[in-house]
Amino acid sequence: MSSFRTDRRALLLGAGALSLAMPQRVAVAQAQGERKFIFIILRGALDGLAAVAPCGDPRYRALRPRLALPSPGDPDGALALSEGFGLHPKLQFLKASWDARELAIVHAASSPYRERSHFEGQDVLESGGAGAYTQQDGWLNRALAASAARGEGVAIGEVVPLVLRGAAPATSWAPSAAPAPASDTLERLADLYSSDALLGPALARAVATDAVVGDAAMAGAGRGRYAGVQVLMQATARLLTAPNGPCAAVMSIDGWDTHANQGAADGGLALRLQVLDSGLAALKTAMGEHWRNTVVVMATEFGRTVAENGTGGTDHGTGGVCFVLGGPVRGGRFMGDWPGLSQQALYQGRDLAPANDVRAVFAGVLGDHWGIDPSLLRTRVFPGLGAPLSGVVA
C-alpha cells in the first residue's frame, strides 16, 4: 500500500497536476497565509470541570464525590494553574504550554445555545449563529471570505463540516481504510478529466493533498478508536506547512459524551484526554517553526452538569471550557468571567453558568490573528455578536 502512496507523489510531480491543484489566489495569499488557524471541535460535550477543575472551590468535591481530582501535589493530583484551578493530570502537554504562556483558557464558555441537544448545539457552535439553524454556512468559511485572499481551509475528515462550509473554497482530506488507487489508474483518470472543470481540479487537488500528507496517512490511521488522533494531527501539520498550503484546518474529535463511568484521574475520560493531549503535542512538533504563527482553538457544544449523576458520569449541561493554544497566544492565564459553583450561580440550578460566549472568543482570535475588521466580525462572521474578546492572541 505504501508504494501506491509513493506512486501518487511521483505522479503528482511528474504530471504537473499541482498547477491545477491550487487556485491562483492562494499564491497571492501566500505571504499572509503564514498565520495558521486550527479549529478542533470536541464533539459530544466535553466536561469542562474535569478538564480544568476548580479544585479551590469547596463545592467541587461535595458535588463530585467520585469524579473530583486529587488536589495539586497529591498523587495523581490536578496540575496547578492559577486562581485555584488545576488541569487534569493527563493534560501534561497543555500544562507545559500554560507554563510557557502558550495556553489561555476561557472557562464557563458556551455558544448562545441554551438547550441540551448535541445536534443543535453543534449546529450553533459551527454556524456561529444566534440559535440553531439560523445560518446555513459556517463562521470559519465566512471569516475566510471576509479576510480576502488569505487562502483556503482544509477539513480533516470525510465531509467538510458546517463550520467550514459556505462560499469560500475548501479542500478536504481523510485517512482511508480502502486501498489507494493504483497510480496508473489515477493517471488515466486525470487524463479523462482533463477537460472537466469540476472533476479535473478536484482530483488534482485530492492527489496534491494526499501527496502532502504522504506517509502520515499510513502510520496507523484507522487502527484502534483513538490511535488516529496523532496521525490526523501530523497530517494537519503537513498540509498547513506545505508551500501554498491552506491557512486554516478543522478537525473533529469525538467521544466526550460521558454519561457514565467517567472516572477521575484515571478512567474513560482520562484516556480520551491523554489521547487529545498527546495529539496536540504531536501537532506542535510537526508544525515546527510554524508553531510560532499558529493558533489552535478547541471548543465543545456545551458543558456537563456540575454534580455527578447516578451512573458515575455527568449529563448534558451548559457552560463548558474553551482552549486557545499556540505560539502567538498570550497564555498562562484565564480570560473571561468565572461564575463559581454556588447554588445560586448555577444555570437552572444544575449547570455551570454560561458566563462567556465562545463566539466572542473565536471573533477575538480571528480579529487579532488575521486582522479581520471588528465590524465585519460582528456583522458577517458572527451576526449579532457583541464585543469580541480581544487580546488572547498577540
Binding site: 475548501a170 482530506w173 472533476l199 447516578g310 451512573t311
Partner: protein
C-alpha cells in the same frame, strides 16, 4: 426522451439490458407518477411507527432503570447502539429497494420528498422512526396533494420527536398551567422555513411563535399519557387537548379561530397553497432533477402546475418528467453519493445479491442512509459532493467494486449498454484501452458521464 437518459436522470441508473426493456421513456415515467404501488416498499416485516415507538419507549424505560441501579458498561452507548439496531431492517430494505427497483423514478421522488421533509437518525432517539416515517408519511402520500403530504409529515411521530413537537406545551393549557413546561418552536419554524414558504417567505418571529402555539397538543402517546387512555394507543400520534394553547391565532396575516386539532391543520392547509410554497417546491424539484442552477422556464412551468392543480403530486411529477429542459442529452447534475453507489451497483449487477457491508459504502462516501446532518436535509448541489476528498473516496470505492466484480463482463459493452448515447468517445476509448477489465470498469464508473445524470 432517450430511455438511457430517463433511467439515469430520473431513475437510479440502468441495469444491463434495462434501456431496451423499458420501452418508451415518456410512458415509463408517466406511469410511475400515477402508480401508488410503484412507491411502496414490499417488505411486510418492517415495523410500523407505532411498533417502533413502543420499542423506543421500552428502551427509554430500561435506560432509566439502569441509571438508578448499578451500571454495567456505558448505558448511553448501549442505548444508541440498540436504537441503531432497531433502525437497521429499514436501512437494509431501503438499500435493497434502490438496488432492485423497476421504478427508479418513483424511488427518486421518495428520496427527494424524504429529504425535503427530513427526519434523521442523526438524532439518536429518532432512529427507529425514520424508516416508518418514510414509508407512512412519504411513500403512502405520493398520490395525494402537497397538503396531504405536509399534514402527514408534520403530524407523524417521527417528525414530532425529531423536531421536539412532542414536548411542546401551551403555557395556558391545562398541563401548562400546572407544570413548569412550555412552548417549543422547533417544528413551527422548520415547517415555515424548510417545508413550505422558505426563509424569505414573508413570516416573522411572531408568526413562528403563533404557529407553535397552534401546533401544541400534537404529540406522541408516551407511557405517562398512555395510562390515562381507555385503550392502548402507546406510540400513536395524538392530539391532546390538555396540551393545546387555547385561543385564536394570527399567522401571516390570517386568523385561525380556536378549533383544537383543526387549528394547526388549517394553518398547514393555507401554507400548502401559498405561491411562495409553490415557487420553492418547483425550484427544489428542478434543482434536484435537472441542474444546480435551475432554468427559470422550468421552474415557472412547475410553479404553474402546482398552483393550477392545488399541489396535486402526480400532476407535478408528470410535469417534471415532461419538462423540455429535462430531455437534453447533456447531464448537468453531479450524482449524490447515494445515487452514485446505487447506480454503480445496478450497472455492475451486484444489485440482486445482498451486499455485505453495503451500508458501510454509504458511510464511506459520507451519505449514510437516513442520517442527514440537519433538518435541512442533504445538500443538493455539486459543490457539496464533488470535494477533493470525496472524489478520491469515490475512486477508492469504485476500484474496490471493480475488484469485486472482476472480469465478469466486458466493461466497454457494459458502459455502452447503460449510458447509451451519453457515453463519450473519450471514455469509450479510455475504457477500451485499460490494462485490465478491473481498471476499465473503474474508469467507466468514475467517468465524467457516469458521475453525472
Amino acid at each position: 426522451m432517450d430511455a438511457a437518459i430517463a433511467l439515469n436522470r430520473f431513475g437510479l441508473g440502468a441495469r444491463p439490458g434495462e434501456v431496451r426493456r423499458i420501452g418508451g421513456a415518456e410512458e415509463w415515467l408517466a406511469r410511475q407518477a400515477e402508480d401508488a404501488s410503484a412507491f411502496e416498499l414490499t417488505d411486510s416485516e418492517l415495523p410500523s411507527s407505532v411498533e417502533a415507538g413502543v420499542a423506543l419507549f421500552a428502551l427509554r424505560e430500561e435506560r432509566r432503570a439502569s441509571r438508578n441501579g448499578a451500571a454495567q458498561g456505558d448505558p448511553v452507548q448501549q442505548v444508541v447502539m440498540r436504537l441503531a439496531e432497531l433502525a437497521r431492517p429499514d436501512v437494509e430494505a431501503r438499500i435493497q429497494s434502490g438496488l432492485n427497483t423497476d421504478h427508479g423514478f418513483a424511488e427518486r421522488l421518495v428520496y427527494f420528498w424524504s429529504n425535503h421533509f427530513t427526519v434523521s437518525a442523526a438524532k439518536g432517539q429518532t432512529a427507529p422512526l425514520v424508516g416508518p416515517f418514510e414509508r407512512e408519511a412519504i411513500r403512502a402520500q405520493m398520490q395525494g396533494s402537497f397538503f396531504d403530504l405536509l399534514s402527514a409529515t408534520t403530524t407523524h411521530q417521527g417528525m414530532l420527536l425529531y423536531l421536539d413537537q412532542a414536548n411542546s406545551v401551551g403555557p395556558n393549557s391545562w398541563i401548562g398551567s400546572r407544570r413548569d413546561t412550555g412552548l417549543n418552536e422547533n417544528l413551527a419554524r422548520e415547517v415555515l422555513e424548510l417545508h413550505t414558504v422558505g426563509v424569505h417567505g414573508g413570516y416573522s418571529q411572531t408568526d413562528v411563535t403563533e404557529f407553535a402555539r397552534a401546533l401544541t397538543g400534537w404529540t406522541i402517546v408516551g407511557p405517562a399519557v398512555h395510562q390515562r387512555l381507555p385503550a392502548s394507543r402507546l406510540g400513536e400520534t395524538i392530539f391532546l387537548e390538555q396540551m393545546h394553547e387555547p385561543g385564536q391565532r394570527r399567522i401571516m396575516g390570517r386568523s385561525y379561530s380556536e378549533g383544537g386539532r383543526e387549528q394547526a391543520l388549517a394553518v398547514l392547509h393555507d401554507l400548502a397553497r401559498r405561491p411562495e410554497t409553490a415557487r420553492r417546491i418547483a425550484l427544489k424539484l428542478v434543482r434536484h432533477f435537472i441542474a444546480d442552477e435551475p432554468p427559470p422556464s422550468a421552474v415557472a412551468r412547475l410553479e404553474h402546475v402546482f398552483l393550477e392543480t392545488e399541489g396535486d403530486l402526480p400532476s407535478l411529477h408528470r410535469a417534471l418528467a415532461a419538462l423540455p429542459e429535462a430531455a437534453t442529452p447533456e447531464a448537468r447534475k453531479f450524482k449524490s453519493p447515494q445515487d452514485f453507489i446505487l447506480s454503480a451497483c445496478r450497472m455492475t449487477g451486484v444489485a440482486s445479491a445482498p451486499l455485505r457491508g453495503m451500508a458501510g459504502s454509504f458511510q464511506m462516501l459520507a451519505q449514510p442512509i437516513f442520517r442527514a446532518p440537519s433538518p435541512a436535509g442533504w445538500d443538493d448541489v455539486s459543490e457539496n459532493w464533488a470535494g477533493p476528498d470525496a472524489i478520491m473516496k469515490r475512486l477508492e470505492w469504485s476500484q474496490a467494486l471493480a475488484a469485486r466484480v472482476g472480469r465478469r463482463d466486458a466493461p466497454e459493452a457494459l458502459a455502452a449498454d447503460v449510458l447509451g448515447p451519453g457515453l463519450s468517445d473519450a471514455t469509450r476509448a479510455a475504457v477500451a484501452r485499460a490494462e485490465s477489465a478491473e481498471q476499465g470498469l473503474t474508469l467507466a464508473l468514475m467517468s465524467p458521464e457516469f458521475q453525472r445524470r
